[in-house]
């Protein structure tokens, strides 16, 4: 919950571009990109973002995304992170 999971924005699922489909280590999930609406922070398709509890919190570079994935793996949190990613939008 406190360690962010990186994902790549693949498409938008609503007209207002508040929800996006993200690829999170191969898992495709809906995430909210509502918090990145602010000026200059507009999310585009192909952007990498750091995700907390289903919400993109910041835009990052691809390199940073790979590093973050490595950190999660090293901390033994990669499996939990993938599980979390799979869980978004399910009930």
């Amino acid at each position: 919950m406190c360690l962010a999971i990186p994902g790549r924005v693949e498409s938008f699922v609503d007209a207002e571009r508040r929800m996006a489909l993200a690829d999170i280590s191969g898992v495709k999930r809906e995430i909210s990109v509502d918090l990145l609406r602010g000026e200059g922070a507009q999310v585009e398709i192909g952007d990498w973002v750091l995700i907390h509890v289903g919400f993109a919190m910041s835009k990052i570079s691809e390199k940073q995304a790979r590093e973050q994935l490595e950190v999660l793996a090293m901390l033994g949190e990669a499996v939990a992170a993938a599980e979390e990613a799979r869980g978004y939008g399910q009930s």
């Binding site: 406190c2 360690l3 590093e67 950190v71």
Partner: protein, 377 residues
């Protein structure tokens, strides 16, 4: 240097450790890492073993499940016991023990408690179950609070009348002030939480540097990040400086996230005070929903249930005292190390936690337990 081989850049790690060693010559410092993610990293990589013992880590109050007092856990679980209620909670929250068991145990005994990964999942459960009342057990610092706030706005947009939130969101600066105000605790500087700062901005720690003359270095989570942050921190300490530095600038901006700040201010207001496990009551350290969102506030909708529960609890306390008390607070404050707790690894283990610090991988006791066997000490 047992772990050095598995680091990404062992040579850089070695030279950074060397730099820390020379900065520590003839000195001793106590550094608090506030965030549970950093605690986890420090233990996982045995950083304490790599560094001079005169550099002491104090594991701070930055793990959301660890700092939630048991009474609050009980109150959330009490809501799950109401007729027609579905309680939705994050995975970490499921295993935190309350006085009459954890969410997981209550679920096994038949209550409808569901694990979710996002507040949006909880919202979906409400949409799919119009005949039930869905309560989302919200926890976390500023990292997760905007997600809860947006979800409340979404519930409003959808006109849902069967969705409420039991809000336990806390803020990161007040507990830092609280540990600095505690005369028993001597802290020389902070490794500042990284991801929470993507919301509040690195600038949020300015007041700590200014008011307490303590340096804060916002840090990433890799071992090298933490070591480099320590170098920055020690340089400041040796020079008698107290500034905020941002080692994690590749992710953390100096300024707060504007949208998140707007949403937080719109949906939440500060509580006058909030109880923290181990730290006691801290003024203005948590938020609740603003009155205009009271129809989504579980503490409003279930006010009577919670009031009666508190009375029962108090009676119980008067009649027979509470169950065994745990010294988690002393560990949270860094007064004792996890393995100095008499219950550590015996009655209290990750698979059957007695205290909250043994629940999450970000809790100091769980981190100590999981990695201590790999350590050389």
């Amino acid at each position: 240097m047992k772990f050095v081989d598995e680091f990404r850049d062992p040579e850089l790690i070695k030279s950074t450790v060397g730099e820390i060693e020379s900065l520590m010559q003839g000195r001793s410092y106590r550094v608090m890492e506030v965030c549970g993610g950093h605690t986890h990293s420090i233990y996982r990589f045995g950083l304490e073993q790599l560094l001079p013992s005169s550099l002491e880590f104090i594991h701070g109050p930055g793990c959301p499940v660890c700092i939630l007092p048991m009474d609050r856990v009980d109150e959330g679980l009490k809501l799950a016991a109401q007729k027609n209620v579905i309680l939705a909670a994050y995975g970490d929250m499921m295993r935190v023990p309350g006085h009459s068991g954890s969410a997981l145990e209550l679920k096994a005994s038949g209550l409808d408690i569901r694990m979710v990964y996002s507040p949006l999942d909880a919202l979906k459960i409400a949409v799919d179950n119009p005949q039930s009342q869905v309560v989302f057990f919200a926890i976390g610092f500023e990292t997760t609070a905007p997600a809860t706030a947006l979800t409340v706005l979404k519930a409003q947009e959808l006109g849902l009348s069967n969705f409420t939130v039991f809000v336990n969101h806390v803020t990161v600066i007040p507990p830092m002030r609280a540990v600095l105000d505690d005369p028993d605790l001597k802290i020389d500087g902070f490794i500042g939480p990284g991801h929470v700062a993507t919301v509040i901005g690195a600038c949020a720690y300015d007041e700590i540097a200014r008011d307490y003359k303590k340096p804060v270095v916002v840090s990433g989570f890799e071992p090298l990040d933490i070591l480099q942050s320590l170098v920055l921190l020690l340089r400041q300490l040796n020079n008698g400086e107290a500034r905020v530095e941002n080692q994690y600038a590749r992710v953390v901006p100096w300024a707060p996230n504007a949208t998140a700040s707007t949403v937080l201010a719109k949906v939440f207001e500060l509580r006058p005070t909030f109880e923290w496990r181990g730290l006691g009551a801290i003024l203005q350290s948590a938020v609740k929903l603003r009155a205009q969102f009271s129809q989504y506030d579980a503490e409003v909708r279930f006010a009577e249930v919670l009031a009666n529960h508190r009375i029962d609890l108090e009676k119980d306390r008067i009649e027979r005292g509470r169950g065994p008390s745990t010294p988690c607070g002393e560990v949270l404050k860094g007064l004792i190390k996890p393995n100095q707790c008499a219950l550590f690894g015996k009655e209290c283990r990750p698979e059957k936690p007695l205290g909250a610090l043994m629940v999450s991988s970000e809790g100091a006791c769980a981190a100590h337990f999981n990695y201590a066997h790999e350590r050389i000490d």
